[in-house]
Amino acid sequence: MIAEAGLAALWLAAALTALQLALSLGIAGPVGREVRTIRGVSIAQAVMTLTAFGLLILLFLRSDMSVLLVAENSHSQKPWLYKFAGTWGNHEGSMLLWVSVLSVSGAALALLERRLSDQTLSASIGAQAALGLGFFAFLLFASNPFERLDSAPVDGRGLNPLLQDPGLAFHPPTLYLGYVGLSVAFSLAVAGLLRRDVGPDIARAMRPWVLGAWVLLTIGITAGSYWAYYELGWGGWWFWDPVENASLMPWLAATALLHSVNVLAARGGLRAWTMMLALVAFSMSMVGTFLVRSGILTSVHAFAVDPERGAFILALLAIYIGAALTLFALRVAHVKEGAPFEIVSREGGLVANNLLLSVILGVVFVGTLYPLIAEALTGDKLSVGPPYFNAVATPMALTMAALMMIAPQLRWRRDSAAILPRLLPGLLVALAALVISLWLAPQIGLIERSALAIGLGLVPASLLPLIGRSLRRTPLATWGMVIAHLGVALSIIGAASNSAFTVEVLHAAKPGEQVQVGPWLIEFRGVRPAVGPNYTAIEGELRATRGNGVSVLHPQSRYFTSPPTTTNEAGIETFWNGQLYLVLGEEGEGGKWQLRLWWKPFVTLIWLGGAFIALGGLLALLGRWWKGRSNRTDKTPKRRKGYR
């Protein structure tokens, strides 16, 4: 009965969404009416959607094999955490998660937003409902998660063992929250354009959503990158895989939006541009989801989906993105110009940041979709991989990092040569890094060298906004910027160091053999069988020594029975200045085991930087929230004006 109840809840939620859209059309129209009704409806539909999602989780936890989705993606012998995570480890479940987040975001917007006029708020809730309707239709007509199976199997097929990892259990929800958080910015932009009400108020309403979504995307991408790094055993942290790009593109758009929203909120500038970015950011989320879900671009971890579903999502995309861009084109002339500023100013720096981010977004977008386009036009099958992305995106990213050394020092509206002394610390450190690297490591490539120099120079440069201020009175938003920019510096240093200084040794060793890997002497001690909760494994023992330090690592080859798969678990040991990363391969002739051994100096800075970036965003979000609360107590809310 649970499955039927879940389906009923879904239908009810879809009906409520339609009602929400109808109501908002009524309220946002010429006659202003109470927003209260629509608030209630949007909360009710969020509750219904969450109920459906909760029931699906329950079905997975109970291993109800009479439900097709559970039988195909779960196994009664799995640890409960993976049963739980299995709910969204498949196409239908993840779409239901998507819709749930979309509904809850709409309800939260309806509940929490107090700045906007009733009409604009209603229009944005209506836009959110319009987005929801399409995805509800997709769930109900093309991918019903609650479908029953005629004859229930005993155990079920299981979950891809690669995906059986506690971190991964929460990776998709994090990304989805980020993707769909951007839907609110999209809806607000639609409402602003529809109501000809684009100004600082819309930007202030958007900002927390953009920040929150961006923080979650940052966490998701960072965690996903680390997962791929330690789970896949290839020693790489970013593969430019379509699925990774699918999450990177919304992040790039959201990063640009985050910066332009600040210009609009603080200075009233970049109005049309910010609305455009808000539309693009969620469009990128949808495009990303479409890429992953349709299985059109084969990838390591995309769920293959039948073409009908792909066509359905493609139609949804075309309708939503087409409609949004049309609306933008129709209304852009009505958007007021913002306050003027000089090229050398904070605004100028933010415009440059936005342009660079847009170019990076453009080249990633083209590179990701090019195989699709090429196949459609010429029939050629091709793949675009790291050589392309590294060549086009890295120089742009480094230019942006160099700009980050300068722009945060600039004042709003106009600035002069007086800021030059403030740029010195960063420049001096960068130059020193350049000289020292030329002297100590003449062999590394130009890109790595510049990245090291820029990354190191960005460390003092990003801390500068704190200099000469009372640290206790510095607003949290400033702290957020400083820490996030510092995070970018750390990530760049980590990535550059990993590219420039990694030592890799591929060797087939007999037990007792020793191999030198960078500063480490590694002795292969042999292998032994090991057993896990739902797998058996062969475990290698490797003893690594450097000076007096000794570490013992145990890389494994794991064999899962349901479904039958082998995975490789790298042996990883982290030190202050890098990571040892050891992979056990197969047994060859003469009792030799294949070993792939890496010493990766400072590689962990990549993800530490990501954590800093996310933390910075979180601090900025908290700062806004605090400020919003203290303002709300001493000022009458704006939306009351003109209603008395």
Binding site: T298, S358, Y370, K381, S383, A391, R414, H507, K592, Q594
Partner: protein, 140 residues
């Protein structure tokens, strides 16, 4: 200080320049960096003789997998049910790499007609084969 109207014009042109720049940059990058996905039939028809980066996809022929004494180099043949291409790879093969499974080898065709792979991607099942091969496989 420029007028607001002029400023908007400047910003719009900047945005356009950035957009066009991105497309041009992407096209320049794609010119020699997109790896074509080929099958053994394509190789037999003469593709890849220029030493361009390719992705060779197909099934690992049963009984073709041989290991060199160094314990790291493997040789095998990839087939698309019509033609076969010999492949050489030095390294640890991915977990799903088996005879009879689909695999994708990234690398270049050597002058001796042996495909030298830098990377091997093994795919879970027939869903990862190139579409036309999937059709043939399901027809069996």
């Amino acid at each position: 200080m420029v007028k607001a109207k002029h400023q908007r014009l400047i910003l719009v042109s900047l945005a356009l320049v950035a957009l066009i720049g991105a497309v041009l940059l992407a096209m320049w990058g794609l010119q020699d960096r997109a790896a074509y996905f080929v099958t053994p039939s394509d190789i037999a028809a003469g593709k890849g003789r220029d030493g361009a980066a390719l992705r060779l996809g197909g099934m690992v022929v049963k009984g073709s997998l041989a290991r060199d004494p160094d314990g790291l180099t493997i040789r095998f043949k990839v087939s698309d049910t019509k033609k076969e291409t010999p492949v050489l790879f030095r390294g640890i093969t991915p977990d799903l790499f088996k005879e009879g499974n689909g695999a994708v080898a990234e690398g270049r065709l050597g002058p001796d007609g042996v495909f030298v792979a830098d990377t091997i991607l093994a795919k879970h099942d027939e869903r990862y084969m190139p579409p036309q091969m999937a059709k043939e496989a399901s027809a069996k």
